[in-house]
């Protein structure tokens, strides 16, 4: 799981073009949106594209993202359970 979490952080940084950020800067349990990292709805869409590209998970409804993208830990858990690649 730790490996997936680390990899995921790298992929998030790349997908969202978070220049100057390193995986260590992202807390596993901090919220990605709002108060935490301060991401917005477009970032959520980018994360949906990223999950489809890297893990073969297709979300139909952007609203699903709200739960899944709560934190990197939650996201990794969801990916581990649903990945097709």
């Amino acid at each position: 799981m730790d490996e997936l979490i680390y990899k995921l952080k790298q992929q998030i940084i790349e997908a969202l073009n978070l220049e100057d950020m390193k995986p260590e800067d992202i807390d596993d349990n901090a919220s990605l949106f709002g108060e935490g990292l301060g991401l917005d709805s477009i970032d959520a869409l980018e994360l949906i594209v990223m999950m489809e590209k890297n893990y073969g998970i297709k979300l139909q409804d952007p609203a699903q993202g709200k739960e899944i993208f709560k934190s990197v830990a939650v996201m990794a858990d969801f990916i581990a359970k649903n990945r097709t690649k």
Binding site: L16, N17, L18, E19, L37, S41, I42, L45, V49, E52
Partner: protein, 739 residues
């Protein structure tokens, strides 16, 4: 009381009809034009669309254009609507040299670029389509099918483009810049924006249901509409009648998010309120609102809140006509204005089709067509980036002529100007020690942007956006103003870097998993709206995208509105970036980078104000012309005589000789200057021209390296400078600055 703006003709093309008669019949009989995809070649067959029911070939035949002519679908639809509008207003080709043409589009020639992009980057086939990629070319192609208009420009504010074209036209009539202008917009569906909207997950796979509890997104549509706006005197002189009156209009910026509307609909609220105030019409007098109503969860909620805030418990009958046509994006403002005129003329409220369940906390639309006399209607058009506009259209018989007071024109000052270009950024080092270049194409010298945007804000910004924000912030700081009334931007090609990334992925990787960021950062109005978001500015906000006069068009808009007293300050930007790939494409297409020409990038932000303060200089006169006759040009030039003329020659281009000859003929007594040999050629380099001239007037000195003729260097101290921009072979702008 202001001069009434008469609508003396109009034409409309959309999924529900090729002309007014077919459109009216469909609206009255609740016949939607939305259905399965037929004409666009895309994998995304799952999305219903509102296509105009003709192929490009059929349109060409309909318009009598030969098969080999270079056309784009946006231009073809535009021509169909313009044809009807001109005939309707009884405007013949011989009258067009006195008539202006203002069009709105965002896709421009993208339908061709997305088909031929792989050829553009690898071989010479279809290279003739390269020059019609941009928005301005599309407008010119549309207009020139009918003759020669006095001036042409293009608004590009995404889905409110056509509404903003109408607003500019009205301001031009009120300022006395023209008696007649033809205004509106055109937009075809492209794979580019179908995929872009898909990446934003706002397309519905079922017919759209605006304001319904189950609404799940929009359907794309396409079409065009143009209105003929005319002064009362002109209409009287020509013996034509008003079909409706444009009584008011408003434009405001939501300044909230690049693709989402604010929960309370601030921009929309301000735009509607402004339209009502300008028209001096009470809330209770509004008989119908044609909503923007796209069918996305976000838009309809935000628009509902804006309307309910404004009208309280007395919301007028309201409907979205997008279930008829799909969302016709840049053309929707004029297409729906045309629907409103038909509704006023024939006394009915068009139905909000497909509606069945009320949404939470929203308006309840009119879901069945109602026969009802209408006197005043509001027509909303909102765009990405919160470019929100509202038009107030009234029945022709509602207009009571009143004496109009003469307009006292305000004086306009250039308060500050900042640039980032191939010269040292955000300073005037070029005056003493300019950077010299050998290469034909150079990217700008960038400052550190950390001071202007935080890393988290910068995550989605290309260079052009960072440069726009940095120059804007520096210019505002230098102007000493606390707040700015308007943000007006010109860009010839917009965010070309992101456009290229999206186009490249679309062409090479196919229509799956495209990045929403690159799409939303590819629209031209991203620049202006992002600056507004950064500055939290809700004022007037538009973007012009018309070739080499994009910046000039923005300047003209600010100048007009300041003289009319509508605004007292403005941030006018000129921003263009270039990539290696697009530079090579444009070179291949003969658009730029010819011979020994130096090409660069430009970011310039200028603050204009009506208060003198510590200004750089005064802006005393401005004029824009399209293919003027020699006599017209000569007559206009008389009003623009100056000590110095800043020319647009590049220094070693083969067309320089002709350019200089023209300058000598028009301005024989002036000393000629140049600046593009230092700053390079870009679509908005005329903005750099204004910056250079303003700095010279402020310094009271012209650097030796700006003189065309070295013998004239010991010239007199400049008291005025004319910026003479003759660009693209077609367009001219003349900007006169005074110390």
């Amino acid at each position: 009381m202001t001069n009434p703006i008469l609508i003396t003709g109009f034409g409309v093309v959309s999924a529900i009809g090729r002309n007014k008669a077919e459109t009216l019949d469909a609206l009255l009989n609740n016949r939607s034009g939305v259905g399965p995809l037929v004409y666009l070649k895309t994998e995304h067959k799952e999305f219903p669309v509102g296509e105009v029911k003709m192929s490009d070939e059929e349109m060409r035949k309909y318009l009598n254009i030969n098969d080999k002519a270079i056309t784009t679908r946006t231009a073809l639809m535009g021509m169909m609507a313009l044809d009807e509008a001109l005939k309707d207003a009884r405007l013949t080709p011989d009258m067009l040299p006195e008539v202006g043409f203002i069009s709105g589009t965002t896709v421009g020639g993208m339908d061709m670029s997305e088909q031929y992009y792989l050829d553009y980057i690898s071989n010479d086939s279809h290279k003739e389509y390269i020059k019609v990629h941009d928005c301005g070319s599309c407008s010119e192609m549309t207009a020139e099918h009918f003759g020669k208009f006095a001036f042409i420009t293009t608004l590009s504010t995404a889905c409110s483009s056509a509404a903003n074209a109408i607003i500019l036209g009205a301001n031009m009539l009120r300022r006395g810049e023209a008696d007649i202008v033809v205004v509106g917009g055109s937009e075809c569906i492209t794979k580019f924006h179908l995929n872009g909207f898909n990446s934003l997950m706002i397309l519905d796979t079922k017919p759209c249901r605006p304001f319904d509890a189950t609404r799940a997104g929009l359907n794309l549509g396409e079409g065009a509409a143009y209105l003929v706006l005319e002064t009362e005197e002109s209409a009287k002189r020509r013996g034509v009648k008003a079909q409706a009156i444009l009584s008011g209009y408003g434009n405001a910026c939501d300044a909230f998010h690049q693709t989402a509307s604010s929960p309370d609909g601030e921009g929309a609220h301000r735009a509607m309120k402004e339209a009502l105030e300008l028209a001096d019409i009470q809330l209770s007098e509004i008989d119908y609102i044609n909503a923007h109503g796209t069918g996305t969860p976000n838009n309809d909620l935000s628009e509902s809140h804006a309307v309910m805030r404004l009208f309280g418990d007395n919301v007028p009958p309201m409907s979205s006509t997008k279930p008829f046509t799909g969302h016709t994006t840049s053309a929707s403002g004029s297409i729906e204005a045309a629907f409103c005129i038909l509704a006023l003329q024939h006394g009915f409220v068009p139905a909000n089709l497909n509606w069945s369940q009320p949404m939470d906390d929203g308006i309840v639309p009119v879901h069945q067509s109602v026969n009802k006399e209408l006197k005043h209607v509001l027509c909303n058009a909102f765009g990405f980036g919160g470019n929100d506009s509202s038009l107030l259209i009234s029945k022709a018989s509602e207009h009571v002529p009143e004496p109009v007071e003469g307009v006292r024109l305000a004086t306009v000052y250039v308060l500050s100007a900042k640039q980032i270009s191939v010269q040292q950024p955000l300073c005037e080092d070029w005056m003493t020690q300019p950077v010299e270049y050998q290469a034909h194409f150079n990217r700008s010298i960038d400052p550190s942007f950390k001071e202007y945007v935080s890393p988290i804000e910068a995550r989605r910004m290309g260079k052009i956006l960072k440069r726009a924000i940095a120059t804007s912030k520096e210019a505002i700081k230098a102007s000493g103003l606390d707040s700015i009334d308007a943000i007006i931007t010109g860009t010839g090609y917009g965010c070309i870097e992101n456009t290229e990334i999206f186009l490249d992925a679309l062409s090479k990787e196919g229509e799956q998993m495209l990045s929403p960021t690159y799409f939303m950062q590819s629209t031209h109005n991203t620049i202006s709206s992002l600056v507004a978001i950064q500055l939290k500015n809700h004022g007037y906000n538009v973007t012009y995208a018309h070739k080499g006069i994009s910046f000039d068009s923005a300047l003209q808009d600010a100048w007009l509105q300041m003289q009319l007293g509508k605004i007292h300050s403005a941030l006018v930007g000129g921003h263009d970036e270039m990539t290696e790939t697009f530079y090579n494409i444009l070179k291949k297409g003969g658009v730029m980078g010819q011979d020994e020409e130096m090409c660069g990038e430009a970011a310039v932000s200028v603050i204009l104000g009506t208060e003198k303060r510590d200004s750089l200089c005064k802006l005393v006169n401005f004029k824009m012309l399209h293919k003027p006759s020699a006599e017209t040009l000569k007559a206009i030039a008389k009003d623009f005589q100056a000590d110095y003329v800043l020319t647009g020659i590049s220094g070693n281009h083969k067309s320089d000789e002709a350019y200089l000859k023209e300058c000598k003929e028009l301005f024989g007594n002036s000393i000629l200057l140049k600046y593009k040999h230092l700053f390079g050629e870009s679509f908005t380099s005329s903005g750099i021209g204004l910056y250079v001239a303003a700095q010279c007037l402020r310094a009271g000195n012209i650097p030796a390296h700006l003189f065309v003729n070295k013998d004239e260097i010991k010239g007199k101290k400049p008291s005025n400078i004319l910026i003479f921009n003759h660009t693209d072979g077609n367009n001219y702008s003349l900007t006169l600055l005074e110390a």
